[in-house]
Amino acid sequence: MTIDVQAATRTFLAQTEEHLVSYLEACVHCGQCADACLFYRTSGDPRHTPAYKLFPIAKAYRGQKWPLKWLGLAPKITEKDLTEWEELIFDTCTMCGRCTEVCPMGIDIASIVGQARKAFVAAGLGPADLLQAAENSRDHGSPLGLTPAKLIDRLDWLADDQEVAMVVDKAHSDVLLTVSSIEAMKYPTSLSAMAKIMTHAGVDWTFSTTGYEATNFGYLAGRGDIAKIMIQRIVDAAEKVGAKTVVIPECGHAYGVLRWSAANILGRPLPFEVLHITEYMAKLKREGRLHLKPYDTAMTYHDPCQISRRGGAAADARYILEGFATDFHEMTPTAEMNWCCGGGGGVQAIGRAADLRHKVFKIKIDQVAATGTNTLVSACANCRLTMDESKIHWKWDGGLESLVEIVAEHLDDGAAKSA
């Protein structure tokens, strides 16, 4: 395989703007980020130190402005750099952002990893399965083969099985509901759960067969072109139905990309508001449109990184659980400080990363055990899949639940009618 070092360098340098360069120049190599990283904490391998992961991009930038560049003496990234760092940039970073929090310089390492991935892919590197997931999204509508026809098929089946209207391609609608193909293929009742909640609250909503996939593997796989296509599909669908709100399902990165990156990737503000389903349920509850029967199982809540630490919506999950989950125990650390599941940032889709990912999950098992509960509720299908796989790997007996599903199972339609 040929590795195009030039292309990698060009891609690195094409992204240099004030924020990125300040971050690259400010690192004092203090090493505080190591222990904040779930991969370093698990492996003890110094190469997993977040600051170290930025070395190639920092080197490429240093080389560009090196005073003796004209003598050919500037540092250059090499094939060896790229092959050595590929694993560090893709397999051992979930872009969870814990390292940013501990950095005395406040360097946002996670965002730089996202930018570095593009350069590795431009060089012809990157995990084949992650890249395939991105290409599947572009070519078939979703990373997991959820084509428009298959989506209709799934929704029809769910409508019958779950006895709820699954609205698709309504001409005009206030809310465009999107899906994560992980849910559609592995946890389909998550989709009907969202539909049940929408119906319960009397929301005017629809799915769309032209813009449905909320996950963005283009973004995670360093394929900026595919990232943009995936965003554009949802934006077009939302504009077509005149949606005021696009609701992102239980998927952390889907929310991160559409809520906090999409406008920048497209270069214009989005003409609708983007809410994660957690934020949307909290909004319905605040408006008095969500009536719930108590949920009595002893449980704890896992914060998806992109929704809490990097999304700012940690409080909404708590607001939903308040007065509903009667036996809720926070884990330690929690909310914005919580540990990542180990499968974010596309790591879940990288087969060769599975062993380390399972080891990383031990952190979560210990966190749950310390709460004295045995049920782990989350609001991200990607976290859930990661946790499900690791649960099997470790034969862990803990229960895994989805927030949207437990809410849907405890809707009090009687109370809604009398309200």
């Binding site: 971050y23 203090c30 110094p46 310089m105 406040g106 360097i107 990097r310 999304g311 700012g312």
Partner: protein, 219 residues
């Protein structure tokens, strides 16, 4: 011209010129880069950018315990030598005289005994930082020539200053000249190495604070 005349004359003048022009060049070339503007919709109720920038600066002054920190020692030690250096530079009577010559303002100095204690503590703290850098596998891996050179060039003025004040090892004039030359070296290196973090920290913490603030992240 004696060594001392050279040190406090042309050497320091040149070094200060390099420092000022170098820092300006670094900052202007950085701030002159394109700025990615954030087009995402700010969360309702999010703090203003100014408030978020200040919050970001303050928040990153310590490592939250819940995050897990590689070393509480490293954080405390970092504060010790930063504060120590500040006490020595701005609290020592002779330094105040030099600063008064440059900027025309002066303030009362601290007793020499306090400065001596501060210098010894700072020196010990810098040595501890170096020991950590060479003994921790993480630190060894991520350390570069820049880190070691910056350490040496920061430590040298503290050490030579202490020797000069204590009249140890050579004639006072020679020690003073060496002390001034180490300061000149530090000033010349400042814009090109990691000492620039003294300026960059205001940018990076503020920018991260703003980016998190507009998202409504409470950390």
């Amino acid at each position: 011209m004696t060594l001392l005349d050279f040190a406090r004359g042309p050497a320091l003048t040149f070094a200060m010129a390099v420092f000022v022009l170098g820092v300006l060049w670094r900052l202007i070339s950085l701030l002159g880069l394109p700025w990615a503007s954030d087009k995402t919709a700010r969360r309702i109720g999010a703090p203003s950018d100014v408030k978020a920038a200040i919050t970001g600066f303050v928040r990153h002054m310590w490592v939250p315990k819940a995050m897990g920190q590689t070393s509480t020692f490293a954080m405390i030690n970092g504060y010790i030598f930063h504060l120590g250096l500040a006490i020595i530079v701005f609290g020592f009577a002779q330094h105040i005289l030099v600063l008064q010559g440059l900027f025309g303002v002066h303030w009362p100095g601290l007793p020499t005994s306090v400065i001596s204690v501060a210098a010894i503590v700072t020196l010990a703290s810098l040595v501890a930082a170096l020991v950590r850098r060479v003994t921790s596998p993480v630190m060894r891996l991520i350390s570069t020539v820049n880190d070691y050179f910056t350490w040496a060039i920061t430590t040298a003025p503290v050490l030579t200053g202490l020797l000069a004040v204590s009249h140890l090892g050579a004639r006072y004039e020679t020690l003073l000249a060496i002390h001034m030359l180490t300061i000149a070296a530090l000033l010349i290196w400042f814009p090109f190495g990691k000492l620039m973090h003294a300026f960059l920290v205001f940018l990076t913490r503020a920018e991260t604070g703003i980016s998190y603030g507009r998202r409504g992240v409470k950390i």
